[in-house]
Symmetry: D2
Subunit: 351 residues, 4 copies
């Protein structure tokens, strides 16, 4: 983050790419490669991700952004008459402008608890459909969608995820995990869900690039290779096939190539978590209340509404929710570019 009188933590996609990612794009720029993801960089990145997930059979495919990925995967896995179960705070339920319905699928929402749904809700939803005498007049649940970390920065524990996966198995539901901010979950000290767990428990998940160090791009892991037939054609039909597919390969190659300092995707997560932890500690030390106990890169301090305007001059934040009692929740997000000076400045602004 460049020196700036005003520090901006309003989101985790304010900058371009992590310098190492960008450098790799520059170095490979004049290479001539075939298009649409058939090049050596994509192959290498796919291989690196398969290894990181301990899942040699997986298909790995790259898309351009989160909403596109969600709409594509949901369409590819569901029958046209099926819907997808999600927490009512889930991204597909709230902030995708109808992209899931554009593909013909209903989002079947259940009330979220700190951004999460649970196995009991999945069970209840599936049982409700199965035992409904008029079920052929209703939308059949075909998939569970969840975000790790969630839109509230919270994390599913391995036990929670295993319970959900078990419920899915019991009812023939696919399990799909939106990992837009996965780096910031993986790096969290309380996290016990690794990439290999996701590969073991889900039908598909994606490793977010856009919010975690790439210019753009998400890597979808489909543990059971071949589960989506005609993957390229389906991406093309969705307008989701990048001509210079190698751009995505090059970026994920960079994010998952090991180096002297370790895998970049992990380092990016660690930097953001260090900053977020310092921010949380500092806020609590200063008596600032936090709305959700998020352990990842998003921090949700509560502010008086009267603080909002002056604060905005010193600190970029997202207005998350008005609490209706004169207080509001704001959201601060750290990332690969957040340094300790940024945290200091933010704390000062919020003091």
């Amino acid at each position: 983050m460049v020196a700036n009188a005003r520090v901006d933590l309003s989101s985790d996609y304010l900058e371009g790419a992590h310098p190492e990612v960008l450098q790799h794009l520059v170095c490979t720029n004049e290479e001539q490669t075939s298009g649409y993801g058939t090049d050596a960089h994509c192959e290498r990145a796919q291989e690196l991700i398969r290894r990181a997930c301990d899942c040699p059979e997986a298909d790995v495919t790259f898309l351009m952004g989160g909403t596109q990925t969600n709409a594509f995967i949901i369409d590819a896995f569901l029958a046209p008459y099926q819907g997808v179960i999600a927490a009512d705070t889930g991204h597909i339920a709230t902030h995708e402008a109808g992209a899931i319905e554009f593909g013909g699928h209903k989002v079947l929402t259940v009330p979220a608890h700190a951004g999460k749904l649970n196995a009991e809700q999945v069970e209840a939803c599936a049982n409700g459909w199965e035992q409904d005498g008029t079920r052929e007049h209703t939308v059949m649940p075909g998939m569970v969608y969840l975000s790790q970390p969630t839109e509230y920065g919270t994390l599913y524990s391995l036990a929670e995820l295993e319970a959900i996966a078990k419920a899915c198995d019991a009812h023939g539901l696919k399990l799909y995990v939106d990992g837009a901010r996965l780096a910031y979950g993986l790096a969290c000290s309380t996290n016990d869900v690794g990439l290999a767990d996701l590969a073991r428990l889900t039908d598909a998940f994606y490793i977010g690039g856009t919010k975690c160090g790439a210019l753009f791009g998400e890597a979808v892991v489909i543990p059971q290779g071949g589960a989506i037939p005609h993957l390229v054609a389906q991406k093309k039909q969705h307008g989701a096939l990048l001509a210079k597919g190698r751009l995505l390969g090059v970026q994920f190659e960079s994010l998952f190539e090991g180096g002297d300092e370790g895998v970049l995707y992990r380092r990016i997560g660690e930097n953001a978590l260090r900053a977020a932890d310092a921010l949380r500690e500092g806020l609590v030390a200063r008596g600032r209340q936090l709305h959700v106990p998020s352990p990842t890169n998003q921090v949700f301090p509560i502010a008086d509404e009267s603080e909002l305007a002056p604060l905005a001059e010193r600190l970029g934040y997202s207005l998350w929710e008005r609490l209706g009692d004169g207080r509001a929740v704001i959201r601060l997000a750290t990332g690969w570019a957040t340094c300790s000076a940024d945290v200091e400045a933010a704390l000062e602004a919020l003091a």
Copy 2:
């Protein structure tokens, strides 16, 4: 193009971005900007493009690739029950994997002549529908789609385009021009259709970035500002809204910012055309027959089928069409990265 024993002219998107575009991405990488195309780079690029089109009222919006752009614009302009008229060789009719039908629209094809349709065909199609007693049982034409240059590298003259636009006006059809390779049309010595003409005659057209010097991205010009309501929401619904929208703004800023050497988008076109013209001349001089008299960056020499395999070892080409008489058409494409040595090598390989 890096020195290479084997020269590759199989397409015009083999490399990354033109160095100046890439350089601008690098220089702006650490800037913090708001997302989804609301940043200063997008605004600047929009302003530059409006000026280049002599159309201050235009909306300019950026998308990620050609098929995505076509599907989005066609969906945005057509009523759900309308179809789009296209040459049967048009990209939307052949190589978009059903993306137009995914949005619910039929492609109403007419036979192409050297990749082009003409005003008479548009008239006939519109009249046919209007005079059909059962027309409410058929798909109503709502738009004409054409590519400039076409998939065969040919160009519409201004007179041809004006006649088509007139036919569209007479029948209430929208006119949309796919400019995936527009730079290579604008730079052509025989071209008489400028950006301002496109802005004057069409309801929308796009200025291709992916094949003309950008890493990725297309700039859609909608001359009548406001013609597509809720543009951002519609892009989001299509999975076509880039989180770090500024990446597209930065690239088109670079392509359309004037400099000492002139506007980059023009220089890119000129380089490719110089190479293509030299290639054509050399081929003809060597007695090689050309399949389509394309004046732009795509060249279509005819080869004996027996030549194909050995040729592939020395020259990257696209196999375009087998003629069924022992001969085949191959396609060679030049671009911003093609230098005279590449042309020499290609000519030698084809000698």
Copy 3:
């Protein structure tokens, strides 16, 4: 209803058509007419309905069933990126198997009160969208859907409907009323919403035939004629255009043609309401609790779960909802065919 040891009130579409409707189909059977609703019977029925609605400018069009009608009207009025506000108990939210999403639209649910939504909820939903800084990432509300009577047999008062219509006007929302059981609302003694009110307040509503005396068919009233362009083509595209369209014209002609005994559609409603009122009175007199205070043709007695199986041998009912405390709600529906003996038998079975 034919004499039957076991009386069946499980729904209001158990029989074929009211005898007068059927008779009219028989009498007109050998007439030769043009297809697709262009015949004299459709014209006559349209004229009769326009008069009944006191709305000479209205378009009246016939469809085959309720879900088809809802999906068609919602698609025809909404832009592709808009959603429809409905009570969470509304038919489109629960029992249409994803037909609305098949057309690409999200159902934006609000909590129902006795089957109804209210103007405040509409206001809140519209304001929420308008004031949301990220609204272009969410689904824009474009219409309010409500049922009159509701799925719970309750009725909107004229004051309630006017308040909702006012909220719709204030926010540019269309108002659409599902009148699958409209006859049973119109005939209700407490009802103050007439056909002319619906025509004055809504953008579209339908007069249900399937559940109100026809073999099948619904008559959609679009008060502002021409509001849906290319109505026939859009119906055809939805698979909703009946070849022998006159079948729908003939039936609605019969339902709305005045006679010595008055308009059949009113008589059908009155018969059902007489029976439902007698049923309610009898149940209350016998100490049976009613779940929802429905004043129309649907009655919702509460029964112990232990009663359900033996009851089913004497009375056909719908199991509506298990209350979770050993009790269940059942639904009884009266119609044109329900006679006082049926009511007696039902009361005896439930004694």
Copy 4:
């Protein structure tokens, strides 16, 4: 057909239902049955049709009209990214107002010969896709659609149909036959394709009711029972599930119940063919040229354009095609209601 100064043969759905069908609707009108096709009449009709097709394993399901049936079956069998091969004169390619594209599928047309496609065209289309290096950018063929009889009244021979089925098998394509006028094919003296052949060779076909004696309705036969999962839900989602499903069951029960005079569906076909044959003979005897050698219930005489207006006063016909040389093709259709007097009157009008 009622006595009428002007005879009308403009289509085969001018009247209501065959009297025996109507009588059965009248007789069963007051029966109380469960909804959505779960009643005894549907079961009986399904059983009768299974027997007529010699296919005890088949699923039989009823829909309301031809376009609805085509759109439903194509959607149910195809993957979202697949298209359907059809003759360019096929109903789905010309007269369904985009219903197939509404479901997201492209119609891949091949040139018709007298309304038919052939096995070679299917082979070429499938091979073309399989051998196309860019096939993942094109629409994958997934089904062959054909009409028996065709839109031009012609018939596929058993040999032709077997060759097409073989080509489908070889390439994994589904085969679907539109039998809107199937009765008029089955009754044709030159026909050698029976219901059991269709059941043996296709993945689905429908037995048309609307144009063959029913008020409305088509019976889809899916020889491999269970091939369409959640059939009821999928119909509901398409707005194609009739509440009083028994109306369709009652009608097809009537059409396929044997009696002293034989199966009604056959008698209806025979009556129409007798009339059509007499019409053809009479026209030829009078020196009138026929455009297509149709052996079924549609007859296509050629007339001078100057004849059209006066003819219309004496004979209802469809204007089929203007030949551009001052002549036009008209279409006359016979049906269950056409009597010899109608034929005489038509011949006189055309003399």
